[in-house]
Symmetry: D2
Subunit: 507 residues, 4 copies
């Protein structure tokens, strides 16, 4: 299994990376990026921690010990084991401070591998080539090397007022084909964590108006000739581990990738040219990302509840009935998210490829629940913390002998050590009062698909038509006959191979 | 097993019942009460339906086939079987139109039977009598006869501004004791469904200031000398099964019970005289009521989703994106409640008496989630239905030949038969636009314990102190040492026998 | 000025009225309708109350004392005077228990009279007839007789999934024209209070796909040959003035009107045949209805605050800090609505016809604020009232000597007389726990235009384009140049005569 | 009138200031503080802008032209003029980027001057000195010099679980008295903007358990011997005016002030020693702060609406119906806040000192409305902006010739210049996705009094007892007699001189 050191060395491969106004020489060492590179290295090193061996690794059928990210869960117990793994990564890496850690990134490719045939068969413009072997070969490559394949799916958002804008946009497209492969040019607008990856996993979010040339699912290395990564400003607080314990861990960065005549060999092309096929996957390839997202959100909710308990205990408000009622909201938030995690695992199903997959409706709406409530509860936590989240001394002030007695007296509550209040305050500030925290929140909001898309895609995808089973009970109560011929819903018009990636039972 | 007919005959026992301005001669036949009596009879008859035998009944260890309400679930599978039973009752009886059906009423007594010793040992003023045998004997009595033991716990709400008001209130109290039993006088302010019961299960919601004489847990028949039931106005629409399909099923009524020198023999006295013991049970004896309540709420959510799908299909709005996003809220509402049901079952624990009990935090906060959202979603359903929930013809108008062609044309949508739209409208009206529906909603709100009480009691009951395990992760993230000595929280000061009725694991 | 007696006598004019399954002989005397007829008569009699003369009436320029409903407000002071009038009607008639009282109904016609020329000029299929004199003549007729002209605008909601459905629907349409007038056939789907009117004011809510024949603005008497009114079931509690003080006042009923070859003379035809003209008025003719609606909502909020204060004082919870915080929500609700009323009056403008009209954006969003919060606050009021809103004795029980002492003791709080608690409970029940109250709430929701329509129409109607003045400040802060050429928004494409009915200033 | 230059020079007075880990030599020039010092200088310079002369200044009764902050508004027109002044300051200084600008700071002192006698008469421990002349003298001093008197009222929040903690806390207290004045020692926990002030205006938020020695209302210069200011870390982005247009304007800082044996002469002591007197003023002295806060919130809402219009126009989503409905929320937010501003001005009253003061209930609940909705709407704005608020190029990237064509193509929408989209994104990021913006939001939340305090204090302060006039209408509807003897509410037990600072009319 790969070590953190090996990972860091691999980063120095000549990739062309802009972060804000700076061109980064080596991602592993530059102050704007080194902290997050180190955090990702920590991810790899976790797999070598003896106390975590059972959680982080498994022994493959061929006797090899591997990272649990490659474990194929075929039943509920396997899924719970997989979750414990993801949950441990989240807990150990700063309560999900690396939402696109390698285990999450690579989970996207699971859906391809589960049933690769349609990806090839549905392709257009491949001269009949079979792309399925390439899918399996790429999977073996990243598994063998424990590689980190970042996701680059989002096309430019230029003009949403007309469908024709998509075709005119600078979105990535095929510009030529040859016996060896394809050449692509254009942009993927947002690729989170791409700066820190080993491979770029190119795909497409279907949108009406997209052209055949823009339908590309493929992989390239980040240092491939013609690739330039342009990242937003970083929110890292490099080195400020005491004052900014969360933000000092680094910023995974969201990056625009420019491809200028980049060559991709056929065995790294996974699908090409079929908008309809692409339209089946805006959600399905992200299912595992959303499931791990829900686990992360559950851990965050536990953290928020804990912070609320700690800070109100420190300031002596925890036993006031109105405060108690307010803190209980965080207990409810946590329990509801946990219920979605446990529930979707209990209500899972077997995919065509034999994977035990959690109930999709339940984790999607679990995530929706989080997103609908997180802004309110973040504000509530800051409000409950009172001034403690806003005004507190810096560590340098605390260490000043002339100031120390005053600051200690100011932060002495009924329970706990005065300096601990600062530590609690710093975590609340970094998560809920900083640019670093704001990006975390916004990332969660748009991770894979935004809330509105969850809602409307789910209404289309699941058997949510009035003719479907979910309305049977309403019909029974109303005394209305159930139509026996299945009405032809938009959902049912989707290819069956795609629908088999969904949970069957809606009720 | 008891039949509906047997149940109805038993009701005519001379009980003294006021409903609104009327004194009811026979609950089973009076127009104000007969519909609900019939609905309860239906409950009993469900147990005799061959197609439901496996769901509604089980064969006891002594070979007797019994109602599943007497089944003791000792593992998760048993609990799920129990849930299917409750869920079937809810589905068959009008989507929970009898929230206090006998299976729910009797579930309260489960907690006594599970660990009867403390009820007796903690008693005061019993001259050392062992009350535990009476607990088991009463349980055997109601099980043998499939009786329905209504719950009478709520004391008068006179003046909440001072604790001393409780002692001065007309709340039920012991006025004398003898070798045979006790004599009680006073009032239980609300006993839902008591008018339709076989036994009154008297208990107490602890409140500060309550006196020893007011602490009574016991059972009496509804026709015991000195018992008068004074029920609010009924919302039944007796006989209007077509126009008011839900309200025609009857109203279970909420009743004030006046006890005037009512004698209770010692073997029907379960606990006496200890306010501290009573304080442990405002929630715990209602745990099973709350769990079944959550199952009912899940079924209601499914019904609401189905109604939203049906009515928007009928009016042709279901494929409009904004409507789709709004309807998806009901899908989320349903999934979240289902997640709580499934989740609390998966995270259960074994009680002192060997029962497998669902996770208390999770079903309590599931119910909290329902109550926090139901008012908004009820209004949303009416809004989505548009005028269909407000203005629609009566059946008599529909049957008028001169009006019919117009009314048909008015209710013809893209899908479904015109008359079906009326049927959907009537169910929405009865549930969300009528006094019958408003009472259902308000009942849910106060069932057992109101929302605020769930919140504050839960914060006290569970290991929610900052020193407890729930804050461990926050402490880890903040870099704060975990206190090893368990802090003495209010929760931990409760008797251990009571705490064992709770789920142990908070995280 | 008309008296209540005169109004009641006029109702007995042979109109054909169904209420639920019953055909009503005389609206003024039938138990289903007489209570509301009486309430409307009370409206007229209020104008003759000496103590209210200054509020309810004014002396016209020709020296005639008239109802204030005919007063033309030409400045802010006049508008405030008009509001005091509407507010008095609302307060005297059961906190707005007659939301479509004559003063509200007739206010719709204000917009026609204010600038009648375009109504005529824009007509199609009138052979060049000038319809403006008819508009003024009709106004003079209803003013002279203090008549009540109910509004019948809503077309059947058949199939919203395709525009073509409107043309095929049974919506009212012109079937023939002659020198004397037009003949119309079809349905107006909802006409609130039409059963109790003197004239039916026919109009149209524009919807895409509407045909020229369906564009009719005109007036007919309710007893015109061919008119049949089909009303939903009534929620009146006729005669139950003690037990149901609000619902006993009557139900104004929502009515479908069927027109079978009904003749309308040209001087009662106000506009014909122009869908574009109709599209300008879905909101504008209802502006005054929405303004009076906001006043009613302000009064209701005051009532809700008062009820919250009274019931919590009675039960002794009013000084508990969490209850205090919850009751304060009602104070905020009231203040915010009052702010909208006062604010829109202060920010008014002069219409083409010289009327001082309140700021439209401000009263529309005031109503939106009410609708967004009322469901939550209604549930909150019931929750604060606790069991007092659900379980309380009937008056008959209270009068029973054997029950009285118990009931008195049960309802004795720290302040107030026990019987008063019943009175408070009844009002809360009728408003928030009954079919009568549910209809009131739903009416408010759909009154004129539903919430979603307020939102989207307002975004179209007001100068809310990014090029407009409202974004100027954002542009300044962003350092972006303001485009000088006015962009051509959809709003600006509307006829100027229509836009002059709006408040000009958006900021 | 003072110029910005004069203000900046005055700052270099030897005050002892910590900001984070650094000791600041000169506030006017240090990189951590110079930007905000400059922003405050801009405030002064605005008064000298010829185009703003009428708005920013007035001519006093003695013929002197003064800053409008010293204008005494004695009628509604005067108040509106005053508001235009505050609003202009807010608009010109970055949409309220200096919430505690001098005009706001000094407004606190208005309440003292309005009726100074009680401040002196109610004092304890002053040996009968008349403190009123000092109040007037101090007011004259700050008026003459256009000084900026920062507010230092907040005591340490040590242990809220017991009242006795207040007495033991390091809160500022009198340690000795002499003929010349008093000597004080201790801490004021939060004084916003104090680092940038000319005078520190010391006061007290009453809390149960506060001692006589801790009741101090007085003024001292920031460079008085013994004064040390300890400020939290700064969020300024010094010099980054292009990339961070808002945060580059500076951070006004929240500061803890330590007083070590600081002498205050009697003529700068305004009140001493009476906890009851202090208890009347937690809200009243902040009334003007809250009113100006509401004006700022209205301007912010206008900005948010404008940003929503601009960004959705740029990305081409503005005409999609669901987006339109969402953007309309910002229109409603703005209108409601504007309604509160306009409404409270219309419903004002005259104070004992002859000032026309806006209706207190209405601006308090206007602020409550803002705080209840701002977290949700901030998240909504980010969500509507989509990725535009998160991922956009830096100015340095934009200026790179190799990247420019790609970046231009990426940001080209249906309307507007590509580079403008960056400018919009930067403002949204700084306000809603940065530490600078988070502090702005949190400041608003706690400004003067937090939301919960607004709610409970208002319920106590206004005539909100059930016996008061606000419940009269509810009583009328319920048919309950109004108690004629005024019940003795907690509010009425407050000194009349304090109550006269409130709006009289509650309804």
């Amino acid at each position: 299994m790969r070590t953190g050191k090996e990972y860091l060395e691999a980063l120095n491969d000549g990739r062309r990376v802009w972060v804000g106004d700076e061109l980064i020489d080596n991602v592993a060492t530059h102050p704007k990026t080194r902290a997050f590179a180190k955090l990702t290295a920590d991810f790899y090193d976790l797999h070598h921690r003896p106390d975590l061996e059972d959680v982080m690794t498994f022994v493959d059928e061929d006797g090899t010990r591997r990272s649990m990210m490659w474990f194929k869960n075929t039943d509920k117990e396997g899924l719970k084991r997989k979750r414990r793994y993801h949950e441990t990564v989240i807990r150990e890496l700063g309560a999900g401070s690396a939402p696109r850690s390698p285990d999450v990134n690579n989970s996207v490719f699971r859906t391809y591998v589960d049933d690769p045939a349609p990806w090839s068969e549905q392709s257009v413009g491949t001269d009949g080539r079979d792309l399925a072997p390439g899918i399996l070969d790429f999977f073996e490559e990243i598994r063998a090397g424990d590689l980190n394949a970042a996701i680059a799916f989002v096309d430019p958002q230029t003009d949403r007022s007309r469908e024709s804008a998509q075709a005119e946009s600078p979105a990535l497209r095929v510009v030529s084909r040859s016996a060896e492969g394809i050449v692509v040019t254009g942009v993927k607008a947002i690729a989170t964590g791409a700066v820190f990856c080993d491979r770029i996993n190119i795909g497409v979010f279907y949108r009406p108006g997209i052209t055949e040339e823009q339908i590309i699912f493929a992989a390239v290395p980040p240092n491939a000739p013609g690739v330039t990564m342009v990242s937003r400003e970083s929110n890292v607080r490099d080195g400020e581990t005491v004052e900014h314990p969360m933000a000092a861990q680094g910023d995974e960065l969201d990056t625009t990738i420019i491809f200028q005549d980049v060559f991709i060999p056929w065995n790294r092309v996974f699908h090409l040219g079929n908008p309809q096929h692409a339209s089946f996957y805006p959600q399905r390839v992200f299912d595992w990302v959303h499931y791990t997202g829900l686990v992360r959100e559950m851990v965050r909710a536990e953290l928020m509840l804990g912070l609320a308990l700690l800070i109100t205990e420190h300031t002596g408000t925890s036993q006031l009935p109105p405060v108690m009622a307010r803190v209980s909201q965080f207990a409810g938030f946590h329990q509801t998210l946990k219920a979605h995690v446990v529930g979707c695992e209990d209500e899972g199903f077997i995919t065509p490829g034999g994977t035990y997959k959690p109930n999709v409706l339940m984790f999607d709406f679990g995530r929706a629940y989080y997103l609908e409530n997180i802004a309110r509860l973040s504000a509530e936590l800051v409000d409950i913390a009172g001034r403690a989240a806003l005004v507190f001394p810096s560590e340098g002030q605390w260490q000043q002998p002339e100031l120390r007695p005053w600051l200690e007296a100011l932060h002495t509550g009924p329970v706990g050590r005065p300096h601990d209040r600062l530590k609690i305050s710093r975590v609340i500030r970094d998560f809920f009062q900083s640019d670093w925290g704001a990006r975390m929140a916004t990332f969660e909001n748009f991770n894979g698909t935004p809330l509105l898309a969850i809602r409307t895609l789910t209404m289309r995808r699941a058997e949510m038509s009035a003719a479907g089973p979910i309305a049977d009970y309403a019909r029974q109560i109303c005394g209305i006959e159930t139509p026996r011929e299945e009405s032809s819903t938009e959902y049912l018009s989707q290819a069956e191979y795609a629908r088999r990636q969904d949970s069957a039972a809606a009720v």
